[in-house]
C-alpha cells in the first residue's frame, strides 16, 4: 500500500501520512468489509479515497508541464521494462498534483474519465486532456531516464 500512496503523494513524507490515515480508516471500518471482494482491493480503495479526500480540501492544481515536442509513442515497452517499479513511481510522483491524480486514477486504478471528473470535481474533458498531457510527459521522462541509465 505504500507504493499506492507513493504514486499519489509528492514525496515520501506525504505518502507516509496518507498510509497512516488510510490504515486508521481501514481499522476503524474493518467491520464494514463484507468479504464480497478481495481485502487488498478494499484496502487499496480506501487508500485511494484517502488520497482523493486529501486534495478535496485544497483546490486541485494543474500546473503547466512540459509535454515534449516529440510525438514519440512507447509501443515496445522496452523502456518501461528496463526501469524498476520504484523508478517509475518516482517519475509519477514528480508529476504536478492534478496530473498525477488523473494519471493514477485512469491508468493504474482503472477509473473512467467520468468517475475521475466526479471524484475530483473537474470537467470530464479536463480529465481527458490532462491525462493526455500527463501521459506524454511521463513517456518523455521514461525515455530520458532510460537513456541516462543506459549511458
Amino acid at each position: 500500500m505504500m507504493a499506492v500512496c507513493m504514486r499519489y503523494a509528492k514525496d515520501r513524507m506525504e505518502a507516509e501520512d496518507m498510509l497512516q490515515d488510510g490504515f486508521m480508516k481501514v481499522f476503524d471500518n474493518l467491520s464494514k468489509f463484507k468479504n464480497e471482494g478481495s481485502l487488498e482491493g478494499w484496502v487499496r480503495r480506501i487508500m485511494v479515497n484517502t488520497a482523493i479526500n486529501k486534495i478535496r480540501a485544497n483546490r486541485l492544481k494543474f500546473d503547466p508541464i512540459d509535454e515534449g515536442h516529440n510525438q514519440f509513442e512507447v509501443d515496445d515497452f522496452s523502456a518501461i521494462d528496463k526501469l524498476s517499479e520504484q523508478d517509475i513511481i518516482l517519475l509519477i510522483a514528480k508529476l504536478p498534483q492534478g496530473y498525477r491524480y488523473v494519471f493514477n486514477m485512469y491508468a493504474i486504478e482503472g477509473y473512467s474519465h467520468k468517475e475521475i471528473a466526479d471524484s475530483l470535481g473537474i470537467e470530464e474533458a479536463s480529465s481527458r486532456s490532462q491525462y493526455a498531457k500527463a501521459k506524454k510527459h511521463l513517456q518523455l521522462q521514461i525515455i530520458q531516464l532510460e537513456n541516462n541509465t543506459s549511458k
Partner: protein, 522 residues
C-alpha cells in the same frame, strides 16, 4: 479504450512494493492504542460485574441443619452433645435500626448469664467432659425457636475450623468431635475451610459488633432479596476457656445476627428464614413479603452519532462532527418473581438529537456571463455603444457548512427481567428488557453527499419497532422507602426514521445513564 501503455504500466506497478519506514508502523499502532475501544470497556465491565457476583452473591442454596443432625446423630460424641445441648443460646435479631437497642440489651443480659454459668461450673468442679452447665430457664426464653434444647447438629460446626480466636484447643478424648473431624472428613474439612474463608470475609463486612473478631460461620439462607446469616459469636466464647471449649464443640448453633437486606421485612419473615436455615422447613410464600419497586427515571444520554454508509463516505467522516444527545423521562414498576428475579415494566418518553457539524467540500460547474461595451463612432448616429456578452464556464469550489440535527421523538415501553444482588445497603440489579418503540415524530435534514444535496425531511408517520436494553442498577438508600439509583446501560433500537434515505444513518447503539428515585411500594 485504454491502450497497451496503460495496461503494461498498470501490470508493472500493481506488483510494485515499497517499504514504509518503521516509524509509520509505530505511529499507526500508537494511534490505534490511543483510540477508545468500546468493546474493551464492555469486556472490563463484564469482568467486574462477574467478579462482583461471584464475591458478593453467596450460594443461595440453604443448608438445613436438621439433615446434618441426623447424619451425625450416631457419632461417638453423642454423650458430649447431650451434655451441651442446653448450653446453647440463640439470639435472633434483625439489623434494622429499631432493633439495635433490643440487641444491645439482649447482649448484656446474655453476658451476665454466661458469667453466672461460669460461677456455677467453678463451684461444681465437675470432671472434665462430664460437666453440665445448667442455664437459667429465663435465659433460654430468649430463643423462641431453639429453646426446646433439641438443637440440630451442624456439619459446618463439626468440620469448620474454629473461629480465628486466640485460644488453645483443649485435649479431647479419643471419641471427641475433634478426632472425628480430623480423621474422617479431611476433604470436606478442606472444602469447608475454603468455603468458610470466603463466607468469613463476607460476614466480616457485615459484622460491626464483635470487635473485629471473625465469627464462625454456621449457615446461611437466602430467599428473594433477603438473606439470613447464622454464625457463632466469638465474643461470648472468649470469656472462659471451658466455656469456649463447650461452645466450640457443642452441636448447637448460636444465631447471633440476622442480616436482612430488605428494610421492610417483618419479624415473621426473619423467623421463617431462620426456620428454613436451621430445620429445612420451607416457609410459606405468603409470609415472605417481597418488595415492589416503583422507579422514576431520568435518562440523559450523550454519545457519538456513528454513521453507516458506503465506502465513499469514509472519506467524509473525519470532516464532520457527530454528537448524539438526548434524554428520556419515564417510570418503571418492578414486581418480584422467583428468587432474586423481578419482572419490570415501564414507559418512557425519549427524545434524541443527532448533531452533525462540519464542512463538506464539493465542486459545481458554474457559468459566468461577462459583458464588454464597445463604442462605435457613427458619422450619422454619433457614438453607438455595442455590448458583447461572453459566457465563461468554470468550476467553483463549494464548502457546505453542515450544522443540523436529526431529531426523534418516541415512546418506549421496556418489558424485562431484573436480577437483584448485593448484600450491603446498596442494592444492585441487572436489567434486561425488550423495548417497544413508537416513533411519534422525526425531523432533520437529509444529506446526500454524492448528489451534493441537503434537503429537510419531516417524518410524521408513526412507526413501530422493537429494540433492547441492558443496564446495571445501583440503588443507594435515602430514606426508609426511598432510594436514589444510578443505572448506566446500553440501548439498541432501530427506527424507520433513522434511514429516511439519509446517507448518514444513525447508529443503532445508544449509551445512556439513568438517574432516578426508587420507591418501595410494599
Amino acid at each position: 479504450m485504454k491502450g497497451s501503455f496503460e495496461q503494461h504500466l498498470s501490470d508493472k506497478l500493481k506488483s510494485a512494493e515499497w517499504q514504509a519506514s518503521d516509524q509509520v508502523l509505530n505511529n499507526i499502532l500508537d494511534r490505534r492504542k490511543s483510540k477508545s475501544k468500546p468493546w474493551l470497556l464492555w469486556v472490563i465491565g463484564f469482568a467486574i460485574i462477574s467478579t462482583t457476583i461471584v464475591l458478593i452473591v453467596p450460594s443461595s442454596k440453604p443448608q438445613p441443619l436438621q439433615a446434618t443432625a441426623e447424619q451425625s446423630s450416631s457419632s461417638p460424641s453423642e454423650e458430649a452433645n447431650t451434655l451441651n445441648r442446653k448450653q446453647s443460646e440463640v439470639v435472633l435479631k434483625s439489623t434494622s435500626t429499631k432493633d439495635y437497642a433490643a440487641i444491645n440489651a439482649n447482649k448484656v443480659k446474655k453476658e451476665a448469664a454466661a458469667k453466672a454459668e461460669l460461677s456455677a461450673v467453678e463451684k461444681n468442679k465437675a470432671p472434665r467432659g462430664k460437666q453440665q452447665i445448667n442455664r437459667p430457664t429465663d435465659q433460654l426464653k430468649a430463643d423462641n425457636l431453639m429453646s426446646d434444647a433439641e438443637m440440630p447438629l451442624s456439619r459446618e460446626i463439626q468440620t469448620n475450623k474454629p473461629s480465628p480466636m486466640s485460644f488453645e484447643k483443649p485435649n479431647r478424648p479419643a471419641s471427641s468431635n475433634a478426632k472425628y473431624k480430623d480423621n474422617q472428613k479431611p476433604t470436606t474439612l478442606a472444602q469447608d475451610d475454603q468455603k468458610w474463608r470466603v463466607k468469613a470475609n463476607m460476614i466480616k463486612v457485615l459484622t460491626t459488633e464483635n470487635g473485629g473478631q471473625l465469627p464462625e460461620f454456621v449457615a446461611q439462607s437466602s430467599k428473594g432479596q433477603s438473606r439470613l446469616v447464622v454464625y457463632n459469636n466469638p465474643k461470648l466464647l472468649n470469656e472462659h476457656f471451658e466455656l469456649e471449649r463447650d461452645f466450640l464443640y457443642s452441636r448447637a448453633a448460636l444465631i447471633k445476627k440476622v442480616k436482612v437486606l430488605k428494610q421492610f421485612e417483618d419479624l415473621n419473615h426473619v423467623n421463617a428464614q431462620k426456620e428454613y436455615a436451621l430445620n429445612g422447613k420451607r416457609p410459606t410464600e405468603d409470609i415472605i413479603p417481597k418488595a415492589v419497586y416503583f422507579d422514576l427515571m431520568l435518562m440523559p444520554g450523550i454519545g457519538y452519532a456513528a454513521v453507516n454508509g458506503n465506502a465513499d463516505l469514509v472519506a467524509y467522516n473525519p470532516e464532520i462532527m457527530h454528537v448524539q444527545s438526548g434524554y428520556a423521562l419515564g417510570a418503571r414498576l418492578s414486581l418480584p418473581m422467583r428468587n432474586a428475579l423481578s419482572l419490570t415494566l415501564g414507559v418512557q418518553s425519549k427524545q434524541q438529537s443527532n448533531l452533525y457539524k462540519g464542512g463538506i467540500h464539493y465542486r459545481t460547474n458554474e457559468e459566468a456571463i461577462t459583458s464588454t461595451t464597445y463604442y462605435i463612432n457613427d458619422p450619422v448616429q454619433g457614438v453607438i455603444p455595442v455590448v458583447v456578452y461572453d459566457t465563461t464556464k468554470y468550476v467553483k469550489d463549494n464548502v457546505f457548512a453542515l450544522n443540523h440535527s436529526n431529531r426523534y421523538q418516541m415512546t418506549q415501553v421496556p418489558i424485562g427481567i431484573a436480577y437483584q444482588f448485593g448484600l450491603g445497603k446498596t442494592q444492585f440489579a441487572f436489567h434486561n428488557a425488550a423495548v417497544l418503540n413508537w416513533v411519534s415524530s422525526a425531523s432533520g435534514k437529509q444529506i446526500d453527499v454524492q448528489q451534493q444535496s441537503v434537503t429537510a425531511f419531516d417524518y410524521k408517520g408513526k412507526s413501530f419497532s422493537v429494540g433492547g436494553n441492558m443496564s446495571l442498577l445501583a440503588a443507594f438508600p435515602l430514606a426508609p422507602r426511598f432510594k436514589l439509583f444510578v443505572e448506566p446501560g446500553v440501548q439498541w433500537f432501530k427506527i424507520k426514521a433513522m434511514n429516511m434515505g439519509n446517507n448518514f444513518n444513525e447508529a443503532v447503539i445508544n449509551y445512556n445513564a439513568s438517574f432516578g428515585l426508587r420507591y418501595t411500594v410494599f
